[in-house]
């Protein structure tokens, strides 16, 4: 049962990365394109962004109910980057809502936009740093050590920082694809296609950097990668999917563009997870936290699963209805 709950957790994380990623990436993209994306992205995500947010809450709840030691260890050692993510989430969410509802005046709007854009980058970056910290294994259980060893070293390293950069680019890319498929006028489409292509290349380069940074931070990621058939297949599939973007960008096939982007992100998450499994958090000076050692008693896992099942049965139809009402994937000008 613990495996199933962990699987649901990974699905939630994936949905957060893909759906929330397009939303976080919206802010990053706005910054990268100096505001050109502003209207398009925020209009597209406004009705769903609250819902996107809940995936993260689900991840947290599954963690502390089903895998409490993961939750408490990560939040102790990675307190600082997680706090930075949270501060970023507060700024972003507030600025986004305020921009949407406040009176249409230039100065406050510009301020909200700036806060939204910079905090999108900031939040995504530290989310990546946090993930990097969980993967890397500099987390110590000996809390008597210096502040640096206990609370900075786990995340202040090349690997975690490069993960932060990677996630920023990944989210920007997802938002880029999302924007391209929302647009209808040719001039903007061309522009955002170019931006998306550049983001793909940067992703490939930074992806390689992540591996290099792992070696520099003393984590044999490449070696582990070579020994995990699942992640090799995942990465190969993700790479093979790259040319598809060129084809679909050329054809301007909205649906396929989104599917391929979603597929690639799924492959990246799968690849990472396959390397790591069954270790959940790597520990420097003690046994790693694994699926077995972290799992709450079977009865808890069963009840958690039932609670999640009830949730899924209620949530998915509602989400489907939400998406149907707002006609995602259709031409945005069809209702104007």
């Amino acid at each position: 049962m613990a495996e199933i709950n962990l699987f649901i957790l990974v699905i939630c994380l994936l949905l957060y990365v893909v759906l929330g990623g397009a939303d976080f990436g919206g802010g990053i993209l706005e910054l990268l394109t100096r505001g050109k994306a502003a209207g398009i992205v925020s209009k597209a995500i406004a009705p769903i962004w609250e819902a996107n947010h809940v995936w993260l809450i689900l991840v947290v709840v599954i963690l502390f109910v089903g895998f409490p030691s993961v939750y408490s260890t990560v939040l102790t050692s990675l307190h600082i980057p997680v706090l930075l993510v949270l501060i970023g989430i507060i700024f972003r969410g507030s600025a986004f809502t305020f921009r949407h509802y406040d009176i249409d005046e230039a100065t406050p709007k510009a301020i909200y936009s700036a806060i939204f854009q910079y905090s999108s980058v900031f939040t995504t970056f530290f989310l990546g740093v946090t993930l990097g910290g969980i993967i890397l294994g500099n987390i110590t259980l000996d809390y008597q050590q210096s502040f640096y060893d206990g609370y900075l070293r786990p995340w202040l390293n090349w690997f975690s920082l490069s993960m932060g950069l990677f996630l920023v680019l990944l989210f920007a890319f997802l938002a880029g694809i999302f924007t391209v498929s929302e647009l209808s006028d040719e001039k903007h489409i061309g522009y955002f296609k170019r931006v998306s292509k550049r983001l793909i290349w940067s992703l490939v380069v930074v992806g390689a950097m992540v591996f290099a940074a792992a070696e520099a931070s003393g984590h044999p990621l490449f070696y582990e990668f070579l020994h995990s058939p699942v992640s090799i297949i995942a990465v190969v599939l993700a790479t093979l999917a790259l040319p598809l973007f060129w084809i679909y960008l050329k054809q301007h096939n909205r649906l396929m563009l989104r599917l391929v982007a979603g597929f690639q992100t799924t492959m990246i998450v799968t690849g990472w997870f396959a390397i790591q499994f069954p270790i959940l958090v790597k520990i420097k000076d003690g046994p790693d936290i694994t699926l077995q050692s972290a799992s709450a008693p079977p009865r808890i896992q069963l009840i958690l699963f039932l609670a999640l099942l009830v949730g899924v049965l209620i949530i998915f139809p509602s989400i489907a209805y939400l998406y149907k009402v707002f006609k995602f994937g259709e031409l945005p000008n069809s209702e104007k």
């Binding site: 709840v61 939040l75 206990g150 609670a307």
Partner: protein, 432 residues
């Protein structure tokens, strides 16, 4: 201590947004329903204006709630490690309720032109219902900390965990109704008060309608609240006698225990100075019998006492405000049936204006009563708050940061709302 303060500020901030986010949807629902029934466009404007307020409060409530779900672990990792599996069930269900609320709010806010009127109205109701349900789940989790159940504590480990029993602990029901009613009362008076200020300035029909809707909810809640509070107090007397004793700064165990109103608790001499004492009433309040024995703080070792003065003052503030709001509620109900044009009376509007912040002050005070009153325990009788604290040094800095952010955010929200109101007014006043 900084960690406790940070948790306090974060929760104190979130509780306001959560209350408004859970109650205001009901107001906008009624406004829309009235619009459909009467076809008076003022109701539609009101529903729309309120829905924007809801959107702002909901968004800030959502981000501050996300913050909390992490803060629990960042500040109290040891607590969460043990408690997570036990009291996590209401949280996982709350996740679902909140999800439904988020989806329904998306439909409501952006669906004015896309949904039929009936469906749109229903989404409004769904927002309100799921909001209340998710509030109840969260309170049930908190109640577990007051009345731990559903596990055996052996050698510092929880075994034989039963999350269902933990959720339906002995305190959940009394805390849930007390908090839900409080949310309706506080939000109702706050909304009515704000519209009373505006009505005093501009006699617009929209404000009169708003006051009536908000007060209708608030009055019912304010009249029910003392009954609910009485049930809650009896429950506390049974489950956490030390806490009840701290409410009232009741030091000595005695029969016919007096109800102490106001006063300054003096810990050294174990007495309360300058207080009004009603003999026997505390016994009645706690056990329903004027002669019953009420356990005093002397029964408990001093290091297990909650901070008595804070708990005492907060309790007095909460009860005092509760009584005042109940009075307003009776005047409102009497006024509605007896007098014509009574909304025009400025003494009445001024009274409502005074009441604007009171409900929320009472909510905050009540929350201090239940949280500070549980100290020094984080899980009552099982785990001490200080034992569950994160080992990370320097928590005071995160406390300063978080507090500063919340203060700024509060000001921005107030500023935004005032701009919304201006926008609404400019529409009405320019149209004559």
């Amino acid at each position: 201590m900084a960690a406790r303060l940070q948790m306090g500020v974060s929760l104190g901030f979130h509780i306001i947004f959560a209350c408004i986010g859970m109650v205001m949807p009901w107001f906008m629902f009624v406004a829309e329903w009235k619009w459909l029934k009467t076809n008076n466009p003022v109701y539609l404007d009101l529903a729309k204006a309120w829905s924007k307020g809801v959107a702002i409060f909901f968004a800030v409530g959502a981000v501050s709630g996300t913050m909390l779900s992490f803060e629990l672990g960042m500040l109290w990792p040891t607590f969460m490690k043990h408690a997570g599996p036990i009291f996590g069930m209401p949280f996982s269900l709350e996740g679902t309720a909140f999800f439904v609320e988020a989806i329904a709010i998306g439909l409501f806010l952006y669906g004015w032109n896309r949904l039929s009127k009936k469906v749109h109205l229903i989404t409004g109701a769904v927002v309100g219902i799921s909001g209340v349900i998710s509030g109840i789940f969260v309170v049930a989790a908190n109640a577990w900390m007051n009345a731990p159940a559903g596990f055996d504590w052996v050698n510092g480990q929880a075994i034989n965990i039963d999350p269902v029993k933990a959720m339906f602990n002995k305190a959940w029901f009394s805390q849930a109704h007390h908090m839900t009613i409080a949310a309706f009362s506080a939000t109702g008076f706050a909304v009515a008060g704000v519209h009373a200020i505006l009505y005093l300035r501009n006699k617009l029909e929209i404000h009169a309608k708003a006051i009536t809707i908000a007060l209708a909810f608030a009055s019912v809640a304010a009249i029910l609240q003392p009954i609910s509070g009485d049930l809650a107090a009896k429950n506390v007397a049974k489950l956490q006698p030390a806490k009840l004793a701290a409410f009232e700064s009741h030091f000595e165990t005695q029969e016919k225990a007096p109800l102490i109103i106001g006063g300054i608790p003096d810990l050294e001499n174990r007495e309360v100075k300058h207080a009004i004492k009603l003999p026997g009433f505390l016994s009645f309040l706690a056990h329903g019998d004027f002669n019953a024995e009420v356990k005093g703080l002397e029964e408990f070792p001093e290091d297990e006492w909650p901070p008595v003065p804070i708990t005492h003052y907060s309790f007095q503030i909460m009860v005092g405000i509760g009584m005042f709001l109940m009075l307003i509620a009776f005047i409102f109900l009497a006024g509605t049936f007896k007098w014509k044009h009574w909304l025009e009376k400025s003494w009445w509007l001024k009274m409502l204006i005074i009441a604007t912040p009171l409900g929320f002050i009472a909510v905050e005070a009540g929350w201090i009563v239940t949280e500070v009153g549980r100290q020094p325990w984080i899980i009552y009788g099982i785990m001490l708050t200080k034992d569950s604290l994160t080992p990370m040094p320097g928590i005071q800095y995160t406390f300063y940061t978080v507090t500063a952010i919340y203060i700024v955010l509060s000001f921005v929200v107030i500023w935004l709302l005032s701009r919304q109101i201006k926008m609404l007014h400019s529409k009405y006043l320019s149209n004559g």
